[in-house]
Subunit: 349 residues, 2 copies
């Protein structure tokens, strides 16, 4: 299983509604009122989406606080990652991280150099410096998946310094950006440099709870926007995702409420998990938690939870993690309590 969220594959094992802790979606669901907007947009399905996505790019630019001309869009963040990969010769990733960085690189027959995060899952600056060369694409999750850790601001600036010195390119996958504490905004930092040698990707998928709509967006320098335009598929963002972009970013109350909610639940879930025997959770800044299993393997724990109607994410599919890690999403209080209850019972065996 390369990805979370594939509940259909488990339906034969539990007769009831499965609770999905394997995919990391905002538990509050999409912004209210979106349904109505989409209903009124059915007419749009009868025409091609604007091939230049003029309105969508304006909405994204307003939301990201950058200029329209720096914006790229795609069929989910993963397509944007895929397009960036096509623009470079060699790809550097740190492991463990989102498996698609490597998979998409291989599809495009790009050399992939895998470096290791430090034992506490930080970027190893020395290793980066020693290995990166001109024209390399470095892809970093910020926060990283599955660790949930955000790159500290001073470390990010150190990484950028290395990137500029070596003339590489830094692609930040910030699909979970809004869930994180408000420390810094990479777009504010890098727009001062006109996004030179940097791309930043975000998406409606996770925070706006719209994985089904397929809307990713990002910003980068003008020269890369142009190269991106030359290789992207036409009409890759569907008409309803295009329309949704004109609405969701304006939902300020929803955005604030979601941030506060995740903040609270993260505090709750982490404090509960830290109290339990047999597991060692990592302190996350995102809406999911990586947990090291001290007494069981992932398979045992996965099946244990599945029997209780809960799907968690086994992590051995993340290279660099052996079979003793799982990942759980942060969901609403009721579900989080169920998860904790099951964890407690797991400890009793």
């Amino acid at each position: 299983m390369k990805h979370g969220g594939d509940l259909i594959s488990y339906r034969d094992f539990y007769k009831g509604n499965l609770i999905d802790f394997s995919s990391n979606i905002n538990p509050l669901g999409p912004p209210e009122g979106l349904g109505e907007i989409l209903e009124n947009s059915f007419e749009k399905l009868k025409a091609y989406p604007d091939i230049k996505y003029r309105n969508l790019k304006r909405s994204v630019a307003n939301y990201l606080n950058c200029e329209d001309k720096n914006v790229v869009v795609g069929n989910g963040a993963v397509e944007i990652i895929d397009n960036f990969i096509q623009l470079f010769d060699r790809v550097l990733v740190f492991i463990p991280s989102f498996s698609e960085y490597e998979l998409r690189s291989k599809v495009h027959k790009k050399e992939v150099l895998k470096l290791k995060y430090t034992d506490d899952f930080k970027v190893d600056l020395q290793s980066l410096k020693d290995n990166i060369k001109r024209g390399d694409l470095l892809i970093l999750g910020n926060p990283n998946n599955p660790t949930g850790m955000r790159i500290e601001e001073d470390v990010l600036l150190s990484i950028y310094k290395i990137i500029r010195e070596k003339d590489g390119f830094l692609l930040l996958d910030e699909a979970f950006f809004e869930f994180c504490p408000e420390d810094y905004d990479s777009i504010e930092i890098f727009k001062k440099y006109n996004f030179k040698n940097v791309g930043i990707i975000r998406a409606a998928t996770k925070f706006f709870a719209l994985p089904g709509i397929r809307l990713g967006y990002g910003c980068t320098s003008l020269d890369i926007v142009e190269r991106y335009r030359n290789i992207e598929l036409p009409w890759s963002v569907n008409a309803l995702a295009d329309c949704a972009g004109g609405y969701i970013f304006q939902c300020k109350d929803y955005i604030e409420k979601s941030k506060a909610y995740i903040h609270e639940e993260r505090k709750y879930l982490l404090s509960e998990l830290f109290n339990l025997e047999g597991i060692a959770p990592y302190s996350t800044q995102s809406n999911y938690i990586l947990i090291k299993l001290l007494k069981w393997n992932e398979e045992y724990v996965f099946n244990y939870f599945l029997k209780r109607g809960i799907v968690i994410r086994k992590c051995s599919s993340f290279e660099g993690l052996d079979g003793e890690y799982i990942r759980v999403a942060i969901k609403d209080r009721e579900k989080n309590m169920k998860l904790i209850k099951s964890f407690k019972e797991l400890g009793e065996y």
Copy 2:
């Protein structure tokens, strides 16, 4: 302008509702009842689409009368074409044809060999035989865009014979299949051969009038399905397109009515156009008509129609056609009459 349908770019030139004869969509619009289906599917946007598209592939297989396991799906036909291109080393196209065959090949740095259709826009079998070699991907529009011509059944079989002899691969782009007279069905023909060395692509875009929803599908041999799966992007079909697939193919009345409608309007429009001076229309089997301009160039005629609120398709962007061809879609009777009226007035200058 590589593609039709980009009306936004012309809005400054005509203050009113433009009639779009540049994109070739079923004038009856999408099947009735689809809006309701989609409204009830908003919940699906909150989850990832089934990464294996099990239900969608079953619906497509039922519609195409093939097996689920032979089906591939994508974010519009163009993404499927793009994925096929990635699987082969060299691409053969006949010109004039859909520009994306060559463009997507170049994106993937594939060699492209361009052969010419005969003067009456038929596949040149001798030229094919002389040029194709082992491992080549031959992409043919059936019917071809912009000519509207379908490959005759015996010619198709001759092409397949060459493909098999040379161990090439034939990709039929049948995005306009349902608009054509019911002569033969390539899927019925090639499933007898287990789709060996053949892929057939269709889409909801044109016939089901859903360019905005982004739903393409096709069928091919099991070995190619597997290779396709290894390179396709995850979740490339959005959740509403996934749902739409469970509905539109069952709308038998709509399908029959649309076919009959296009048949009638094609007859009407062709007979009117053949009567006019200064133009030479090609006899199409699809829902669009290629027209050779005998007295004007495309730019003049394009601007002439634009001033009257009609957008037509200039064809010089199709390699192999000079600046004296245009393409018009077949629309509803009222609009078709407007088109003819404007053509008549054009002739009076």
